[in-house]
Symmetry: none
Subunit: 400 residues, 2 copies
C-alpha cells in the first residue's frame, strides 16, 4: 500500500468539496431474513444509490473485527496496522483530554491499599462525584511539582486519565497495576531505553498519590496502565492537501480527527446539530467527516429496532447534505455492528459514492447485499480516501 | 499482509469448531458450455450455498498456477511466496518419510554408470520391486557409517528419497545430477557457507553407492536433486490458537499438514474413510482440514466425466459434515484443475462459507460462476484463515 507516498506526490488543492458521512456500525445481519439496513425505510439513501456507485469495504482485512480507532484510521487512508493507537491515548481522546506531541497519557484507576496490598483495584467503584473530588484534590496538591506537569482528568466511577507533560518521555512501559487484587503495588518499568525517565516520574507520582490520599477510607492509591505518547501520524492537511473538518459530537471521534490534523467544532448532542455545524462551516473547509453514532450504540445494545430507527433518522437528514451540493458524497461506516452480535464485527461496510464522475451502477437500494453487487466491488477501507480525492479532482495524474 | 502478526495478537481459543473441506482441483472449464462443477448434480452443496456466502479465491495471485504445496499453504494462512517448500521436502512428505528439524532430504534416481559416464539417468526404469531391493541393500550396507545417518526410501520405478540426518546440514546445494545422459557424474556443491558439510557427506555417500552397487547390471549409481531442509514455518496451534487436525489419506497432504503442526491420522483409501475419521476425532479438535483428492486426479487425467462423478461423490458426503454441526464450514479448493487443461491452473477457486454469522447472499447453486457473484467477492486464499477464525469467534477485536 503506497497511498501515503502517492498522496504527497499527487494531492493538490482545489475548490471541490467532499462529504464523508460515517454511519457508525451500519452493517448488520438479518433477523427474519432482513438486516437492519434492509428493514429501514431509507428513501434518500436509496435515491443516492441509484445516482452513484456502490461497493463494500473491509476496515482491516477479511475476518478482522476492528475497534473504532483502527476502523476510522483506515477510512482516512492510514494503514491501521501501521498506526496502532495505545489504549491510553484512545481513553484520553475519548475523555476530551487535550494531548500534545510529547505528552504521555495513561488510563488510571483509584484503588484501595491496605497493609501494603491492593485489596480492591476499583476502590469499591466510588461514585463519579467522589472521583471528581479526588482528582481536584490531587491536581491542586501536585501543581508546581518538579519533574513533570501531571494532570488528572476524572472519568466515570473510579476511572481517570493521567497526563504527564515534559520533555523526553517514552512510552515503552509496563503497566503500574498488579492486574489482580491482594497483590502489592507494582511500579512502571521501562521496557526500552528512552522510557526510564518516564518510569521515574510515574513511580514518584504514584508514591505522591499514596502520601496525599493517606487519610482517604477507600480510594487511597492509584494504578496506571496503557501508557502512550501521542502517536506520530502524517497530518491530513499536508498529506492530502486538504482543509478537513470533523463534525462529530463524541469526544473519541473528535480526538481521533484532531490527531490527524482535522479541525473540530463544538457540536450539540442532537443529530440536527451535526448538520447545523456542517452548514455553518461549509465555506471554510473542503473535506467534511460527519460522524453519526446512534447506529453503533443500538447495535452494541443488541437493539435491532433502535438501529433501524437510527438508520431512518440519519436518512432523513441526507437532503441537508445534498442541498450543499458537495462534489463528492460518500456514505459508509467505519465497521459493522450487527444487533444480533451485540458488538463490532468483521463484516464489510456498505459504501456509496455520489459524484458527477461516478459511473452509476443501478443499485436502487442502499443495503449490504445490494452494495456487494455494486461497481466498486469489495475493497479495503484504506482506498476510500484516494477514491474520494480522485472523484473530487484533487489528485494529479500519476506519471506521464 | 500482516496476518501472521495479527494472528498471534488476536487469535484466542474457543469451543467453536471449523471444518475446511478441500475439494482438490475443483474449479474447471466448460465443455459444451458447462464446467465439471456446473455439470455435476450437487444438491447438498447447492443447499449450503443458499444458506451461506460465496466468493472466489486466488491461491497466489491472478495468473499464477500453484503446485499443491503453495496452494495449501495459502489456504492455511501462510504466504506461499514467503514459505517456499523445496522439491525434496515435498517428495519426502509425499512418500510418507518422517522428516525432523535439521534433516536434509533429496529426490533420488538410480542410474546406469558406464566408463565414467551416466548413460541412463533412469537406469532403464527398473521395476519398483528392483528399486525396493536396492534400497534395502543400501540401507543395510550404509548403516552405522560415520558422518551422518543416511536412509533411503524406495519410490516408484527408479525413484527414491534420501534422508541425511546429523547436525549442521545446510541446503544451499547444487544438484548431484548431470541432468542429461552421457555426461560424467557431478558432485553436489555448496552454494553458500553453511552447506559445505552437507556437500561432503552427500558426495561421500554417492561414492559409496557406486562402490556398493559395482556388480549391479543397470542400477549401479545414484543421482540426487532438490536438496531441502525442513523449512521453518510458524506452527498453526501457536499462531492461531487452534487444535487442528488433517483428515487426509494422501501422504503429501498429511506431510504438509504435519509441517505446520496439525495432528494427522491414519485414514483409509475410500472417501467414506475421511468422514469416519472426522467423526471419530470430532471431540479432540477445533479445526478440521478434510482433503478430497479424486477431483484433482480426474482433472489431471483430462477426464471430464470422472471429475463430474468425483464432485457428485463428495457432495453426497456433505450431510455427514453438517450432522456434526460445525460452527463454520468452508468448502473450497486449493487450486483449479480443469479437465480440459489436464493439469493445475491459475483459475480462482469457488469458495463457500456457512456460519451463523454469514450474511446469506442467495447463491443458489455452488459453481464457479455463481461464486463470482457472491458477497465475499474475489480474494487471495491467504484470507480464508482469518475469515474462518473471525466467523468462528476466535479473533479478538483489533485495537480499541
Amino acid at each position: 500500500m503506497d497511498w501515503e507516498t502517492l498522496a504527497k506526490e499527487l494531492a493538490t488543492p482545489t475548490d471541490s468539496k467532499i462529504v464523508l458521512l460515517v454511519i457508525d456500525g451500519l452493517g448488520g445481519l438479518p433477523r427474519n431474513g432482513k438486516t437492519e439496513l434492509e428493514t429501514a425505510q431509507t428513501t434518500n439513501l436509496d435515491r443516492l444509490a441509484l445516482r452513484g456507485c456502490c461497493g463494500v469495504t473491509d476496515p482491516v482485512f477479511m475476518g478482522i473485527t476492528p475497534g473504532s480507532g483502527p476502523a476510522h484510521l483506515g477510512l482516512f487512508g492510514y494503514d491501521p496496522v501501521k498506526y496502532q493507537l495505545g489504549r491510553g491515548i484512545l481513553e484520553a481522546l475519548g475523555s476530551d483530554v487535550e494531548v500534545r506531541q510529547g505528552d504521555l497519557v495513561a488510563r488510571g484507576n483509584f484503588a484501595t491499599l491496605r497493609d501494603g496490598l491492593i485489596v480492591d483495584r476499583r476502590a469499591g467503584r466510588i461514585p463519579t462525584s467522589e472521583c471528581e473530588r479526588l482528582v481536584g484534590l490531587l491536581n491542586k496538591a501536585l501543581a508546581g511539582r518538579p519533574g513533570a506537569e501531571v494532570t488528572l482528568f476524572a472519568g466515570k466511577e473510579h476511572r481517570f486519565v493521567a497526563r504527564f507533560r515534559t520533555e523526553g518521555l517514552g512510552d515503552c512501559l509496563t503497566d503500574a497495576d498488579p492486574q489482580k487484587d491482594h497483590k502489592p503495588r507494582v511500579p512502571a518499568k521501562a521496557e526500552a531505553p528512552g522510557s526510564e525517565k518516564a518510569a521515574g516520574i510515574i513511580n514518584a507520582f504514584l508514591d505522591d498519590v499514596v502520601a496525599i490520599l493517606k487519610d482517604e477510607p477507600t480510594a487511597n492509591a492509584a494504578l496506571l496502565r496503557g501508557f502512550s505518547l501521542q502517536p506520530s501520524i502524517p497530518q491530513m492537511p499536508e498529506l492530502c492537501s486538504l482543509k478537513p473538518a470533523a463534525i462529530a459530537n463524541y469526544p473519541m471521534y473528535k480526538g481521533l480527527a484532531k490527531l490527524i490534523g482535522m479541525a473540530t467544532y463544538k457540536v450539540g448532542a442532537e443529530t440536527k446539530d451535526l448538520f447545523d455545524t456542517l452548514e455553518a462551516h461549509w465555506a471554510e473547509h473542503d473535506f467534511f467527516y460527519v460522524h453519526f453514532k446512534k447506529t453503533d450504540a443500538a447495535g452494541e445494545d443488541g437493539n435491532f429496532e433502535a438501529k433501524v430507527k437510527a438508520i431512518e433518522e440519519i436518512d432523513s437528514f441526507v437532503p441537508r447534505i445534498e442541498a450543499l451540493k458537495p462534489d463528492v458524497l460518500v456514505v459508509t461506516a467505519d465497521h459493522s455492528t450487527p444487533a444480533l452480535m451485540h458488538g463490532h464485527s468483521f463484516h464489510p461496510n456498505p459504501f456509496l459514492l455520489v459524484a458527477e464522475t461516478a459511473l452509476p451502477d443501478n443499485t436502487g437500494v442502499f443495503t449490504e447485499r445490494e452494495c456487494v453487487q455494486g461497481s466498486l466491488g469489495r475493497f479495503r477501507s484504506i482506498f476510500a480516501m484516494p477514491l474520494m480525492l480522485g472523484h473530487a479532482g484533487k489528485l494529479k495524474k500519476f506519471g506521464a
